[in-house]
Symmetry: C2
Subunit: 354 residues, 2 copies
């Protein structure tokens, strides 16, 4: 029998070390990466089970089995670190928000990492710490995960796919097809911050005032809105493609048009200036901590009040209304009194924004 040394394994070099292919092999290096980095920061009773999947308590509402909501999001944002956040917290917020806009209380997250050979462990550690902080602050644990490594030049640092599961209370029915003419269109705050923060960093631009991503978890704000008991028609977070894409999608699903009022749409001055410089339209730029809410006109006041009482909804504003329109156009009355159609984005304004 050959003598096998199983004893001492050097700890991960989190200062100078880099990802290599052994970290994805299913062998001891992978186990080490998981225990010394992922489990260390993300650790919780579920992740700690250490099996191929996590066993989780039944999703119940008021003691009874509840419908669940499931959503998944791949994060390929470039650069990985940007003003106001990084791919780590973004991947937590993004998926929590997709679950929350369905009206569900987010319960659990799964996280899958595709790492590129040569990626600095120090950067990975920053990202995982940021995920852990975001998950802790949101109260939604990462309960299971996976790590794969691809050869240098076959990836781009790190891609993170997160999947969320939440539980949905009886009677809560939100969806893009529930909007009716006359409904009010509300947004929770300024448009374009995230996308412009990414683009400015990517183009190495600096402005007088800092532009930071708005990345944030919206489930607390949404819970407060649901607690009003108002029949919300639809909630969405206007990420890729921005307000324009999201409203066009809803208009199509509900078979209505939308009439927006440019003056009513909050855009930070520095974001507007950066957009002008970059040739971007803030209505098409991704947000990562903003909410579109659509409700019956009669409920507007109560919804606005609930939103403005929450730190993430202080600047909530009615920006327009759903209208009858067989073409399902989203239109905008401009500050100059004109009118234009806010169409889908045709090309690719902002690749890898989230």
């Amino acid at each position: 029998m050959a003598e096998v040394k199983r004893g001492y394994v050097r700890p991960l070099d989190l200062k100078q070390g880099r990802i290599d292919l052994t970290h994805g092999s299913g062998g001891r290096s992978m186990v080490q990466l998981i225990s010394e980095l992922f489990a260390k920061h993300l650790g919780n009773e579920y992740l700690g089970q250490g099996n191929d999947g996590a066993v989780l308590p039944a999703p119940t509402v008021d003691g009874r089995a509840g419908r669940i909501v499931m959503s998944t999001d791949c994060h390929v944002v470039s650069p990985l670190f940007f003003p106001g956040g990084d791919i780590g917290c973004l991947s937590v917020h993004g998926t929590i928000n997709d679950v929350a806009v369905m009206g569900a209380a987010p319960l659990y997250l799964a996280a899958g990492f595709v790492l590129e050979e040569g990626f600095p462990l120090a950067d990975l550690a920053r990202i995982v710490e940021s995920m852990a902080r975001a998950a802790r602050e949101a109260g939604v644990p990462v309960v299971t995960g996976d790590t794969k490594v691809v050869e240098r030049g076959k990836g781009d640092g790190v891609f993170i796919t997160t999947t969320g599961v939440g539980v949905l209370r009886d009677g809560v029915e939100l969806g893009g097809s529930r909007v009716r003419p006359g409904d009010a269109v509300i947004i929770s705050g300024s448009m374009g911050d995230h996308g412009v923060a990414i683009m400015s960093k990517r183009e190495n631009l600096s402005f007088d005032a800092p532009i930071e991503s708005d990345t944030a978890a919206l489930h607390g704000l949404i819970a407060d809105m649901l607690a009003t008991g108002v029949d919300l028609r639809c909630l969405r977070d206007p990420t890729r493609g921005g307000l324009a894409a999201t409203l066009n999608e809803i208009a199509g699903q509900s078979g209505v048009g939308m009439m927006l009022h440019e003056k009513a749409i909050p855009v930070k001055q520095v974001v507007a200036a950066a957009c002008e410089f970059l040739g971007l339209d803030p209505l098409y730029v991704a947000n990562e901590g903003k909410l579109i809410a659509i409700c019956a006109a009669a409920d507007t006041k109560r919804v606005l009040a609930a939103m403005r009482a929450h730190p993430l909804g202080r600047e909530a504003a009615v920006i327009g209304e759903a209208i009858a329109d067989d073409h399902h156009f989203v239109q905008l009355t401009t500050s100059f009194g004109g009118r234009r159609i806010v169409d889908w984005l045709a090309g690719d304004q902002l690749p890898r924004i989230c």
Copy 2:
């Protein structure tokens, strides 16, 4: 008001077309890709909801709320198409199996795609069709998904991260830490088929007999095993790192050793020959449709009978037993009467095997 043409959009060119950055932009091209390719093949009532997340029936067992199991797996296999399968069906089987080995009935899948600019739409269509077929055959729908596109050279064709949710019956408690000395170690069939199929394709090797991946969904086999009522200690699918990595992991979690018998471990002749040629050890090679089951010695017969009665367990065999060992070594008695330690894989034998 500018006149906007919204009418005719050319259908996706599924013969000559390629992924470009607009397919990930949140604009109309992305919507088209989703509707003409993903929804077309994977379509079901949940995916068809068309919101940011899918609303799903409560996971119940016998009419009551059940614990859920959640598991996620990134698939970066290279090549994308291989004898016996492709990344599409693999990504369905792999995650179903991770949920099923926890003893849960898989209910729902989420799928996230990271596509490289320039990837042929025809290849993507083959992959999505294969996913759809695998999901249909397994009876586990893909209920939600996401698509991102990265620039040429920043990815490698397509990576697919799938996440599964299943529901777990009361009383079913499987886990790597439940193994006791004396327990029987059973495998459902031959070792090494998947990894050797991938490596042979990658190295352009051909053998007299074809070597095909064993990729398959194991939840049916597992359901039959659970139906026996036997107290199974632990189930695992020996993927990355093969039988060796999986048994070392379980040995460590349970604080036991393992004694395996080389003669008892089924390895197809052609796989053994290919392994010799490629310098691989079949015990370290990934499987994608095989099961390790550990149970009390007294229950072995019933478990074996249930396995052998299922098409995916016909060659099920006892390959060894758990033993008391403070070092938690996995050992092997060789065909020549010797004994060796089957250690963790130290380096990276097989990158991107799944």
